[in-house]
Amino acid sequence: MTPAVEISGGTVAIGGRPILRGIDLSVRTGEFLALMGANGSGKSTLVRALVGLRPLAQGEVRLFGTPLDDFGTWHRIGFVPQRASAASGVPASVWEVVAAGRLTRRRLFRPLSRADRAAIHEALEVVGLADRRTDAVSHLSGGQQQRVLIARALAGQPELFLLDEPTAGVDLPNQEALAATLGRLKDRGATVVLVAHELGPMRRLVDRAIVMRDGRVAYDGPPLRDHEVHEPWFAEPHTHHHHPVAEARPRPDHAPHVSSPLDRPSGGERS
C-alpha cells in the first residue's frame, strides 16, 4: 500500500545552511506518528517540508504516492500550523475560522452547501466547541483556540493530519481535550503526524515515535517516555520551553530592514 506521506533523502536548507539532512521517513496509512525532539532539532521544519511550506534542497516528498509538485488534492491534507492564537486583526467567529478549512473542497463564488455546513458543524462537535461557534475566537482561551485550529483542519474531512505543536503552552485539561479529539480521529482511521515537545496525555495514542536531533533522525521506533526523549544522547538536557512561536523567529535588530528582491532572509521559503 502506498504510504500516506513519504520523504526520501530530504534535505532542507534555510538561508543557505543545511538544517535537515538526509531524512528518510515513510508514514503508513492509519499510523499515529509523533515527531519529537528538542527545540531547534528540526521537527517543525520537517513537518513544514512535508506539506510544501519549506522547499527541499534535495530529495523528494510524496503525498499519497504523488510527488509534492504534482499534488493537487489538498482536501486530503489537514494541516494545523504552529500558532499562539487563532485570532487576526479583525474579529472572526469560531464558525468562520473553521469554515476556512472547508475551502479545500469549495468552488469559487459558491455559497456554503449543506454538506459544507454539516462538515463544519461536525468538526466543531469533535473538538467540543459547537456551543461556542458564534463567539469571537479571540475570546477563547489558548487551549480552546488550538482546538479551533484543529477543527479548521477537520472541516475539510482530510485523511492525513499534520499538527505542529498543538500542545505548546496549553494547560493539562485542554491537553486532555486535545488528546480525546485526536483519539477520535485515530479511531476513524486517519493518519496523524504530530509534532510535540512532550506527549503528555497523547502518549497512549502514539504508534511510533521519531526523535530528531540536530536535523537528523536519531530514533525511530515505539513511543518513548517523555524523560527518555531528553536523554543526553538525544539532545541537550531538557529545557522547559513553552514559547516555541516566539522563538521560531528571532526578532530582527533595530537596523532598518530593507529587503531587495535578491535578498531572501527566510531562506527561500515559498509563499
Binding site: G52, L53, W74, G89, P91, W95, L103, T104, P261
Partner: protein, 334 residues
Amino acid sequence: MSTLELFELPFMQRALIAALLTGLAAPAVGTFLVQRRLALMGDGIGHVAVTGVALGLLTGTSPTWAAVLVAIVGAVAIEIIRERGQTNGDVALALLFYGGLAGGILVSGLAGANGSRIQQFLFGAITTTSPQDVIITLVLAVAVIGCCVGLSPQLFAVAQDQEFARVAGLRVRFYNVLVAVLAAVSVTVAMRTVGLLLVSALMVVPVATAQQVTRSFRTTIAAAMALGTLASVGGLVVSALAPAGTSVTPGPTIVLLALAGFVLAWPVGVWLRHRARLREPFAPVGPVAHETTGTHPHEHGPDCGHLAVPHVDHVDYVHDGHRHAPHGAHYDEH
C-alpha cells in the same frame, strides 16, 4: 438657495453617487488590510499615487488613470517587499511612501501645475466630479466591491493564516496581489472624494469602529461598509450645508465624521469587553476545601443584582471580593 434645490444640482447628485460608492468600496478592502495588520497600506498607496497624478498632469493624460496605474505598481511593490521581508518591512514601506509623495510634488511642479490643482487630489474635490468621472468611479467601485464580497471566503482564509491557506491549496500569492490591486483601485476611487492623503482613513476608521462591537468577520465587514457610506455621504451633506462665507471641503468633513463614529463606539466596545470578561466562566477547578461563609443575610438569586458567573455545574455569585456558591441552606466560598 434652499437645501432641496442644492440636491437638485447635477454636480451635487454626481458627488453623492461618488461618495456612496467610495463609502462602500474603501472599507470593504480596508477590512482585509486591517485583518492582515496592514492598516497603513492604504496610506502608503495614497502617497505613491500622488506621483501617478503628477505624471498624468505632466504627460497631459488623465490623472485618474495614471494614478490607477502607478498605485497598482506601488501596491504590488509593497506586497513584494512585505512577502520577501522578515517583518512587515515597515521601514522599507516608509521609504516608498516618502518617495511617492516627494516625487509627486516635484513632478507636478515640473508639469507647471499650480498648488490648488494638486491640492484637489491631495484632499479631494468631489464637487468637481464630471459625468465621465462618475462612470469611472462606478465601474471601479463595483469591481472592487464584487471581488471583496464574492471572494471573501478565500480572501478571509489567506488574510487569517497564509500558511494554512497554502496547504489548503489556495494560490496565496495571487490573492495577496489581488488585495494589493483592489486597495490601489479603491485608493484612486476615493481620491476624488477624500483625497490621497486622507484616503486611508476611509479604509481603516470604519473597520476600527465596527470591530468595537462585532464578534464575527461578516458583521464587521458589513458594518464597516455601512459606516463608511454613512460617513462619506453624511460628510458631503454636512459640508454642502456649511454656512455661506466658509469653505468647508468634503474630504476632511468625511474623515472627521468617521472618526466621530469611532469616538462614540469606542467606549461601548470597552464596556462590552469589560462585561464579557466579568461574565467569563471560572476555571473548572474545584474549591480547595469546603469552606462556608459566615452569616450571610443576603439571599442570592437570578435577580439579586450580583454578578453571576458559571463555574463548572453551578453559578458563583461575585461580591466584595468573594465568590459565593449556594450549597443547601448556606453559601460556600469558592
